[in-house]
């Protein structure tokens, strides 16, 4: 299989913030309908890697090819690219001055040429699926964290993305709210959505991932199917990380 057969192929991706090299020559491939989980300690570069994929962070060196298109050559239409890639953040980032409905329909109305009716109908359909239809006219600060995060996922889905990037989306949630969000992501995975997920939820990663990548100081140290990474990690650093996670009770 050549590189271009993958849905995403990242090669030798390097990203610096000043003198600090956050990503060091990262190689990563993701196939269509595949779910890839990025694990690793805070500061290992998971979030930065995700943000490079939709060019929210400019890349210093290396190439990223998504869906046959080289996105790192400086010629790509970033807005068009981002319309095909949904991203959900740890801190939800809903627009506080808009209702749930307005949050969801803004981008589809502006950039997918949908009429207000079409966009709202699609939004209602998505909200109905996550059981939040009755919150459509509420402002985000009236919703629980878990509800806000599910709305944020729906907001991204409303653009009908071909790829979803999830950036530690449960890290800011109370434990009892995590389950709802993760089950939504699980459903997405089952429906065949291609996803790259940065997460601290190891049991979730084990359940949903086709491939797990362990990042350590800006490099992918080890990758493989979840069974392998979680049960028989080769690298000492991976083992160390996983045992620390185990102690923290997140397994």
């Amino acid at each position: 299989m050549t590189k271009t057969d993958h849905f995403i192929s990242v090669s030798a991706l390097t990203k610096r913030f000043g003198d600090n090299e956050v990503l060091h020559e990262v190689d990563l491939t993701v196939d269509l309908h595949q779910v890839v989980c990025l694990i690793g300690a805070s500061g290992s570069g998971k979030s930065t890697l995700l943000r490079c994929l939709n060019l929210l962070e400019p890349v210093d060196a290396g190439t990223i090819v998504i869906d046959g298109e080289t996105v790192t050559n400086g010629k790509v239409d970033v807005n068009a690219l981002r319309r095909r890639i949904g991203i959900v953040f740890q801190s939800f980032n809903l627009f506080p001055h808009m209702t749930v409905m307005q949050n969801i329909v803004l981008a589809p109305r502006k950039n997918r040429g949908l009429s207000k009716q079409e966009a709202e109908q699609r939004a209602r359909e998505l909200l109905g699926r996550i059981g939040l239809l009755d919150k459509a006219d509420e402002f985000p600060d009236r919703l629980s964290g878990g509800q806000q995060q599910r709305v944020a996922i729906v907001r991204a889905l409303a653009m009908d993305p071909k790829l979803m990037l999830l950036d530690e989306i449960t890290s800011a949630l109370d434990p009892q709210l995590v389950a709802d969000v993760l089950s939504l992501v699980g459903d997405l995975a089952k429906s065949g959505m291609t996803m790259v997920i940065a997460t601290h939820e190891m049991s979730f990663a084990r359940e949903v991932a086709d491939k797990v990548c362990f990042l350590d100081s800006g490099s992918i140290l080890e990758e493989g199917p979840p069974g392998e990474i979680f049960s028989r990690p080769r690298e000492p650093r991976t083992r160390e990380f996983l045992s620390r996670v185990l102690e923290a009770g997140r397994m």
Partner: protein, 235 residues
Amino acid sequence: MGKFLHAFFSPLGLRRAVPQVWDGFQTNVKLMVIAEILVLVLALVVAIVRGLPGRWSLPLRGLAVAYTDFFRGTPLILVAYVIALGLPSLKIAVVSSQSLFVYGVASLTLVYTAYVTEVYRAGIESVHPSQRMAARSLGLTYAQTLRHVILPQAIRRVVPPLLNDFIGLQKDTAIITVIGLTEAIAQAGFYSNDFFSYAGYSVAAIFFVILTIPFARFTDSLIKQRERRERAQLV
């Protein structure tokens, strides 16, 4: 004390001064309304220009910075003199043949746009960068992000300081009297010359205060209304 009250607040003097000062005060109100509308729009434009990204916009940004620095540092009275006395002497078509009223509006607008630009800019910068990031990640363009996500939040936050600047502008319409525009202060002056009474100035002061108070209350109620609307969803 009796002398003072007589000079400034004699009932007859006040009553007689009201129509004359009112006549001039209408000009202040017109100055204020027109200048405020212009300032609201122009300051937003300058603030947006100051925040533009990229290298190509550098000269524009520099221009915007130079403008705000210059006009925030220049006394309004000086700007008014330069415009109202200087421009006509230059004999430039259109620019040199405007009325004193237009020169007054221009002076107020030039100076206050510089202040209000900074207010808008503070508002724009107070919106958390993650909001911009979220908007851009949905594929919204720079302009769409500004229009639908950043500015609505920014402007909401700067309503009180904006109001403050407008109260300042309202009062500073009185300075325009120096270029010879017949507004409230000028009329109060005429009155005091004609009747040897300062009641005209008292009346003008009262007019200015009366204009300011409802303005302040109006803005308060706007803010409250919006808060209520955003909280009303909670049952």
